[in-house]
Subunit: 274 residues, 3 copies
């Protein structure tokens, strides 16, 4: 790869990694992210000692913003499928959900769209009190491509999954925890320590026991690969339609994908037709 | 139809309807309700512009009381099946859950029995702080006919679904939200505005995106038609047994189906054997 | 049976039993418990009048501690399968979940491991404010044998089930209720009355209605017998491995299975490697 590394892996101990994501001013997800994440997941799958991985962000305002709408989206559709037979973005999500280690998202501030889909496919989501989660795709005229519909339906139930997906609004940490979108909320300045203590605890357990128990929870809540494929197909059908163009232009005019623009308040802004 | 319209449809915009239910002094559900609801669902299914429908009640004390036990219940069993192949009441519930628009129940005050089954098959339930929900069928000696067992199991989990269905008690809004029976609670005098803002937001989104995303949540939480049929059969087997008659008479003596009788406190009253 | 009765059955009325568990100083579950529970479940299955059973503990500090690691565990694996075809411990859990009566756990203080698996297979869990629940198996190097992974995934969702099972920590009543691990929390000194009122209510209902409605909730949330078998096999593969021995010895040295030792704080203690 000639691109800079977006995932910085720190091996705290042989059984405990901390992975820090950083990509541009607002931590967008682009085709390079997908490629690098695929490699990282392979490393996680193959390491014989690894038991727990914490994902965090180097950006104080964005855990992961969302997919980069100015990147080469055709690359997402035309890159060869991954080991699951799915296109690489979906392949990442499904493989991530199955890795034989515990994956934890330590969420500070904003995580939306494809970023929300990433955290939904980690095992555990701990959120700082200022965290904000959302799936704004419907506001862009699109069906979300990573099938958060499936994960949210299982986590928060049909009614709240409908509200999150069809309202497309922001969900602050406390409401997200009440709904079950995240496991629980921790004060922002205590989140790192809380997650570290939790991760070290698991890092000391037997990998066979941890991976063995996870497999049962995973299989009880598994989403068929075909559902991931269908969601990506629905995204592809809806995301770049000509009828979405005017609103998309208006959003870019108002600062979409920029650190000081509407990204700070995207849940509200995406519904404003100006 | 020669009966007065129970569902008053107000098209706020081409993509946003508000439907107000009104039927007698306590908003009972009767065979006419079922017939009219079937027609309304067909209109919702077929309208090409409609994106969101809000259901509300004209009655300040009852969103929907429950099935009218003095109506011609044989008509429920003998009317020709609807498009799903189910008897009309079950057919309504299943078709309602699948309409290609977002359906929202704005619940003020009491909704029980068949009324609760109605709101459980809308997509989203927002409740005023004075709302009360319940499935009192077990207190009448019957298995609930609209299969709220299936919807509640998915929404609130096995343990709480058992408590709601087998206890047959009233669930005030706050407890209902803690359990996941409703999405969230809003102050009674703010509910209309809250729901209107939410509905207008969705009304401005692309119908293709909204209906497309809903389909994934619906399919992830779908209840097989056979389960609706089995619940209706169980209701029919249990509801009008001779051994239920004395208690039913006592309930009518105490004001069942009257606005000022035990309907105000049905959760408690249905369990009192006098 | 030549062993003392661990389950004391009190028939409050013909339709309402209260069952009190007592086994040694911390209410461990051993092969005798499994055998006696099997007999009790058969009585519950066959009684024509019984509608509701409340399970409580005679021990002020432990509802059920966990499986007795000093008992004859080979007996668990070699006793003839029960009616479901599963080994007796798993057979008990699956049959318990299906009995045609409502089963309620009135949980005061600690319930962990196999005890937690027991309460997860009763229909309803009401917890006193001082209750503590947990699945510490991973801290012993084992996959839990009673498949709490399946029940918890359904009750609390994938993310929180992962946290409970892979963290192996204690969950105090309030957090357990927020997650959905228990139905709700009641003040410790009000729990008995609360549960008694609830049970008497159901005891007055028609058994046909209660058992009929329960069957729908049970089937909507059923766990295949094969999953129980797979969990027991995973426990057997992982629980007594030589690499677990040093930590297990350390835990016994610190008071495992004794009333005043680390059992009071097992969630924390099981993760300390001394």
């Amino acid at each position: 790869m000639t691109n800079p590394t977006q995932f910085n892996v720190q091996a705290i101990t042989p059984s405990y990694w901390r992975v820090t994501f950083e990509n541009g001013p607002i931590n967008l997800i682009d085709p390079d992210t997908i490629e690098q994440l695929s490699d990282l997941i392979t490393r996680i799958e193959q390491d014989p000692h690894l038991t727990v991985v914490v994902f965090q962000s180097a950006n104080p305002d964005f855990f992961m913003a969302h997919f980069d709408l100015l990147s080469d989206i055709q690359r997402v559709y035309t890159t060869a499928p991954g080991p699951t037979g799915l296109l690489p973005f979906s392949d990442n999500l499904l493989r991530l959900s199955r890795v034989p280690v515990v994956t934890i998202s330590a969420i500070k501030n904003r995580v939306r769209g494809a970023g929300s889909e990433f955290v939904l496919n980690t095992d555990i989501r701990f959120a700082g009190a200022d965290a904000i989660l959302g799936q704004p795709e419907v506001g862009f005229g699109a069906v979300a491509g990573g099938n958060p519909m499936g994960r949210l339906a299982e986590l928060v139930g049909r009614g709240r999954a409908m509200e999150i997906m069809l309202g497309g609004d922001d969900f602050p940490a406390q409401l997200a925890a009440e709904y079950g979108y995240v496991n629980r909320v921790v004060a922002d300045d205590e989140l790192d320590d809380f997650v570290d203590v939790f991760a070290r605890r698991i890092a000391g357990f037997s990998k066979a026991a941890v991976a063995g128990a996870k497999k049962f929870v995973d299989e009880a809540t598994a989403i068929p690969a075909g559902e991931y494929a269908a969601a990506m197909a629905a995204f592809r059908r809806t995301a770049m339609r000509p009828e979405n163009a005017d609103h998309l232009k208006s959003l870019f005019d108002r600062g979409l994908q920029q650190p000081q623009g509407i990204e700070l308040d995207l849940g509200q802004q995406v519904a404003l037709k100006l």
